[in-house]
Amino acid sequence: MLKQLVNPVNPSNFNILVSKLSDVLVKALDEPLGYAINWGRVWSLWPVHLETACCSVEFGGSSDPRYDVERFGILEAFGSLRQCDLIVVQGTVTRKMAPRLRMVYDQMPEPKYVIAMGACAITGGLYLDSYNVLPGCDGIIPVDVYVPGCPPRPETLIQGTFLLQEKIKRSKIK
């Protein structure tokens, strides 16, 4: 068996050896590395600076000294969307904003997460019958966590990020 495997004349046998070895390697590395990287992602969610509507006031409020989301590694007021991993859809998505929202989502690097904040971002909320408002943002981008409220208090938003963290912890890394 071993003789067959290390026989250099037959390259397929050598490939089997390598793949077996790499399987062992992956098995050994997968779990700790998965933990490590997921742990990193859990405590380092940088939201992109895209304000769609009025919930942005409470979003800004959540980084003030009383609520201070930097405790959970969420750094706000970040410049470029290339370095961000979280979109918080802050309220109503209008028909004019929708293509931009999708564009921002597409431009962000993987992995990226979406929180729909406020009733308007979930279903359209108070503006359900308005002619320029979409009934929720989940028709445009895939939403991970819904945070209800009109507007949600900062505590609710923080709770929402906890739920997102739970989701990240249970996810597999690629």
Binding site: T94, R95, K96, D129, Y131, N132
Partner: protein
Amino acid sequence: MERKSEIELKKKSLLLSKDILNSVVEKFGEKVNVIYDKRNRSKIMVDPEIIVETSIFLRDNHGFDHVESASGTDYPKEDQIEINYHLGSYVNPDLFPYVLVLSTKTSRSDPKSNSLINIFPSVEYFERETYEMLGVYFIGHPRNERFLLPEDWADIPPLRKDFRLKGR
């Protein structure tokens, strides 16, 4: 004490508005209608062709120098769109609390009106908004184009009464 000063203020404002309205009616005659004259608020309806002249007259003779608001209202029953300019003054301290509504009417099928942008530069965005929301074309306005609505808006102007919201 307070009540007395209140009454005095009221009297003063009424006198002021009477003064202004009289002079406008005197100048333009039958083409101007006074709709109402309340405390600190009065409304005149002018013919569409003299809107520019009236506003120049109001600006130069009475010191109205900006618009507080400009809007339109759709009246499908009368087949008209009414355009309102709420004029105010920052120069004349007597006119500080006073708002004069200068309004005109245009037909619903071919809504056009003379723009006041050269007399009151502050109407620029208000007129653009009115163009978009009611479809009134402002002659002389440099930018009768898309403003608030999405670029691909293909419906009728939304503040027309025959534009119905879904489910209502």
